[in-house]
Amino acid sequence: MKEYLWLIVALPFVGSLVLAVAGGKISRLACAMIGVGTVTLSAVLSILIGLDFLNTNGTPFDQTLWQWIDVAGLSPNMAFHLDSVSLTFVFVITFVGALIHLYSAAFMWRDEGFARFFVFMNLFIGFMLILVLADNLLFLYLGWEGVGLCSFLLIGFWYKDPANGHAARKAFIVTRVGDTAMAIGLFILFMSFDTLNIQDILKSAPSTWAVGSGIAMTTAFLLLGGALGKSAQLPLQTWLPDAMAAPSPVSALIHAATMVTAGVYLIARTHVLFDLAPIVQTVIAVIGAVTLLIAGLSALNQHDIKKVLAYSTISQIGYMFLALGVGAWSASIFHFMIHAFFKALLFLGAGAVIWALRDEHNMFKMGGLWKKMPLVFWTFLMGASSLAALPLITAGFYSKDKIIWLAYASDQGSGWLWLAGVVGAFITALYTFRMVFVSFFGKPKAEPTKIPGMMMTIPLIVLAVLSLVGGFIELPDTMGPLTLFSDFIEKTLPVTAIADLGGTTEFIFQLITAVVVIGSVFLAYKLYFNKTFPATVPQRNPLQQFFFEGWGFDRMYNALIVTPLVFLSTIDKKDFIDQFYKGLASLAKGLNSILSSTQNGKVRWYAMILVLGAIITLTIILYP
């Protein structure tokens, strides 16, 4: 089965190509069949290959397709490397991707760009699979830039509104800052190791670089820069809330479930380099902790249901970074997987509500939807519980609790990181249930115009089930212990080193988290349940306004970078060199207008010119 690995990647590309060429000529149904079908086949294949992989006891598998480049010692292959980490990512990408594709076939049905949508979505899946399966960093970088491109194309999908184009450019430029850092990091890696093959680098790095040496730190920092940009972490997080201009399924797939976790994947994949730079690892943990708090507080003050989810995504990826920073590799990947399930579900649910209410994003204008859209409500509630990490019954609890526990218990953890995690959990539960109570309870303020059909509800149900039971493959020591997932991941990534604190301590810490979460849900219930809110954008005091605007990062970047750059380029527009080239252009234009005035269409005039020319020529010949 494993030899068909390449097919998982190739299928979405084929689908994209076929739709790009023939999309305008075939019916919508055929478009949907190709778009959804190829990704579904990929998902089925990845499950089959995953089973095969488990049967062979998780031995990593390499498949080289062909040599890509061979120049001056740089000879990367088009080659895939399948191990437990990439398999987890492949599974999530194809499986969640297939569900979201199915959903979008109904969601986008009436859109004029139906075929174009699936071209981009399939292309995205293909590039994302390249990113996680690539066996060398250059190939990974190809996927990395490819998903960036698809993200740009899909954020600006409804390109007739200039604001969407602006959001798309912003996402592209902000992530480009991180990508540049990452590219420089790759140059350093190639200079030091003469190869970009990930496994080779990981093998030789510990013997080449000393722990904490300057070059190791620099490289780790540069790679982290790339990860921060793609994963929307502080200080490059500003693009993600604007990316909500994309259609909801895109937000679910790209800006919540898969692409934004590419940074997590990159750090996990090159974990050896980060082990060599302990300070950078601490920085990762601190960035994660600060991001999850900042984004959580912003989410608490949004009124646009998708913006709440966007900030919550930033916040949850903050948890994953926190886990990476304390060396809890498998916990981070575990939270990635569970997060992909419930966040995709929440975005699809929100998308269904927005779709049914004719593009209404403001949750204060919704209200009372639980009776009118019961299925959407119940699945959304399951996703929300998982996001809020309601104890015992949701998958989110098991993954998030593990991170919070390890933030304290791991060798690199500390009380402060733990505290940030717990406060983050409190804020998460509060904004999640604020969203649920405000949009689904209270007086109905808008009437749903349509009810989602099977194609939209099946993905919701599947994802809802996974958001609840997905956590049972990994139970904490106090309740199992069951470590199926971490055993699987730890075939590839190192085991988290934890201080031996005993089961009682862990239990107390879990209890604290559980009480905090339940208390927070109760607070949300008191504050928002069945209250009547005016159906407008809510009033905010200055502090809330500050949180609402994402802590003024946009304003700061505008003042510090955008405005000076625009100012400089306005000055630069009139500089000497430009004047010279402009002069050339206007000279050419002037000569052109003189010459074209001789083309006046009068035959006698032409004859006259002919005679003049003959006379001049004769004069020159006769009187040299």
Partner: protein, 101 residues
């Protein structure tokens, strides 16, 4: 009777200049065509005078060529004039100036 070459060439030059002037000042396209004929005949005359001065028949051969060429040219030109009259309802060459710029 022997005509000196200078006088023959001078006659050809005068004829050529007359034709050229006609071509430049006339606006009626038929008269322009006639002026062109005059110029061609002036050129033919120059060939014949030159050939006679050399004492061989080459100049007359050239004149036959010019005559044949002129016949073809006139037939094409007349066809063009008919088309032009259909298009512009006029034989004024200045009216047919739509190819400017």
């Amino acid at each position: 009777m022997n005509i000196p070459m200078e006088q023959g060439i001078l006659l050809a030059a005068i004829l050529f200049c007359l034709g050229l002037t006609g071509l430049l000042v006339r606006r009626n396209v038929i008269f322009m065509l006639m002026s062109v004929e005059v110029m061609l005949n002036a050129a033919g005359l120059a060939f014949i005078v030159g050939g006679a001065a050399q004492g061989n028949a080459d100049g007359q051969v050239m004149f036959i060529f010019i005559l044949a060429m002129t016949a073809a040219e006139v037939s094409v030109a007349l066809a063009l004039i008919i088309r032009m009259f259909n298009e512009f309802k006029s034989l004024d060459i200045d009216k047919a100036s739509t190819m400017k710029g």
